[in-house]
């Protein structure tokens, strides 16, 4: 009785230790593997995130869903069909994507669309008043402020801001404050003249 009892307990203890450690090992490995897999997955395969956003562009309200990676420039061009703003370098070096945010010039290629919410955005399409061109647009035509036209939308948006900021005291000042907009055709003199005319 005593013997079999102690035998039974020792057997059950051994069985208990064996089975629990085996179970523990079994449950431990898949869990850590699963966690590891999850870690790897999250690190290397982050799912793209679609975010509902509201944008105000040229006094119109837009509700749309965008990829978290989308720049304001991409959304303007691809989603809202406002293709006036141009993608020149896409790295903030050329100024072709210049728009106004709350009245100040900014680069739409370096601005995430999701971060442009709550700001009044103006693009080249919002500059004219119906069929009446903005004075800066008129001046660019008058002074041949462009050749191929690719940088023109950015140049005009920047030029309007340049006048608003009051940086038109001299040709040197205009050129300094327009230096963020490159023109491969070299229409700089025409652009400067256009700005001088509007600043008067």
């Amino acid at each position: 009785m005593k013997h079999s009892h102690s035998n039974a307990t020792s057997m059950s203890r051994r069985f208990f230790l064996k089975s629990t450690s085996a179970l523990a090992a079994l449950s431990f490995i898949p869990n850590s593997l699963k966690a590891f897999y999850q870690d790897v997955k999250e690190r290397f395969f982050v799912k793209k995130q679609m975010i509902p956003i509201k944008l105000e562009v040229n006094k119109k309200q837009y509700s749309l869903t965008v990829d978290s990676r989308a720049t304001l420039l991409d959304v303007l061009r691809e989603e809202l069909n406002l293709t006036g703003s141009k993608k020149g370098c896409d790295h903030g070096q050329c100024g072709a994507c210049t728009v106004h945010m709350d009245g100040e010039r900014a680069l739409s290629c370096l601005t995430l669309a999701v971060m442009a919410q709550g700001k009044a955005i103006t693009t080249i399409e919002g500059l004219a008043d119906g069929d009446n061109l903005h004075p800066m647009q008129e001046a660019f035509i008058e002074h041949d402020g462009f050749q191929c036209g690719y940088c023109t939308a950015g140049q005009i948006m920047s030029a309007v801001a340049c006048v608003d900021e009051g940086h038109t005291g001299s040709v040197g000042e205009i050129k300094e404050y327009m230096s963020g907009n490159l023109c491969r055709c070299g229409a700089y003199n025409g652009i400067t003249e256009a700005i001088q005319q509007v600043a008067k």
Partner: protein, 327 residues
């Protein structure tokens, strides 16, 4: 660009607690978005901190506190800054373009990465991008590289203009760490030299945030100059830049400040030249001697020896301009 999760914390506490080793804070994003497009920086999570940190410029008895979210343009055109710290304004206006200055934040300006071509080209070795891969610039295209304070591991230079003025003006950086504790760092201790771990640009603790920048009151608002020499007249990074400021008693120099961009891994203070100028007369001869003292410590790389005479000339010219520059 690799996908990432975007969130916009409402408070600074929430921002700090949401941060992890694969997250990045974003404010202006003028540098970070570009780095993400080029797959140099690949965060899993972007924490938009634009609502969590101060965007005010507060003038105090002993100086000015510039909130981390203040846009670069807003600092440059601020009346108090123009009156008391005009060197800072002048330096900011020599950097980037109006479109970029309108978005870029004060805190972000300190954290921008180098523009060394090897850092930006994923097919080339760069210890700053991937430590252990080697430094392509050391014996390669190092025309834009450092002439002082570099190591075999990295010869990149810090790209900021604003930081050169802040270094000259004895600024301090206010930091909020992940555990909620605060730290104030001397500006000169904020950025670091490359040594053997150039992947670290600065001494900002992990996940910590710059909350504001403090610039002490000084007498450098009457005689100052920020001279930036670059490959084109505007909108280019510095080959060499010099922030110079003099506190004059008649023609005698009470205190001098000299700092440079485009020469080192961090904004560089020419302390020996400053010490030489202290108490001296503000003359062309003394300015030339100060320039010589600064240049003595430099050691150019294989293709940027031109930076040494350029630096000497820039220091002399900047100091000379201090005498005629009227705020």
């Amino acid at each position: 660009m690799r996908p990432f999760e975007y969130t916009k914390p409402k408070t600074v506490r929430e921002a700090l607690s949401s941060a992890n080793s694969h997250s990045q804070y974003i404010a202006g994003g003028t540098n970070l978005v570009d780095l993400m497009k080029k797959q140099i920086d690949e965060p899993d999570k972007l924490l938009d901190i634009t609502n969590t940190l101060p965007d005010t410029i507060e003038v105090k008895d002993n100086g000015v506190v510039i909130g981390a979210m203040v846009r670069n343009t807003a600092i440059a055109v601020n009346k108090a800054i123009l009156e008391s710290w005009p060197l800072l304004s002048k330096a900011i206006l020599k950097g980037a373009s109006p479109q970029i200055r309108n978005i870029a934040s004060a805190g972000g300006n300190l954290l921008q990465r180098t523009r060394c071509p090897y850092f930006y080209d994923l097919t080339l070795p760069c210890n700053k991008r991937k430590n252990g891969s080697g430094c392509g610039a050391l014996k390669g295209n190092n025309r834009m590289g450092a002439i002082i304070g570099y190591s075999d591991a990295c010869v990149a230079v810090h790209p900021s203009d604003m930081c050169v003025a802040l270094a000259a003006l004895d600024a301090k950086v206010n930091i909020l760490k992940a555990d909620g504790s605060k730290e104030t760092m001397n500006f000169l201790d904020f950025h670091r030299l490359p040594g053997t771990n150039p992947e670290k640009d600065n001494n900002l603790p992990e996940k910590a945030l710059i909350t504001s920048i403090f610039v002490p009151k000084n007498n450098f608002n009457k005689h100052f100059e920020y001279l930036k020499l670059r490959d084109r007249e505007s909108y280019a990074f510095a080959l060499v830049s010099v922030a110079a400021a003099l506190d004059l008693d008649g023609n005698q120099i009470r205190e001098a400040r000299l700092a440079s961009g485009g020469v080192a891994h961090k904004p560089w203070r020419w302390t020996k030249a400053e010490a030489f100028l202290k108490g001296k007369q503000a003359t062309a001869e003394n300015f030339a001697e100060a320039a010589k003292i600064a240049a003595e410590d430099t050691a150019p790389l294989s293709t940027n020896a031109f930076k040494v005479p350029l630096l000497k000339g820039a220091i002399e010219t900047a100091l000379q301009t201090c005498l005629t520059n009227k705020a």
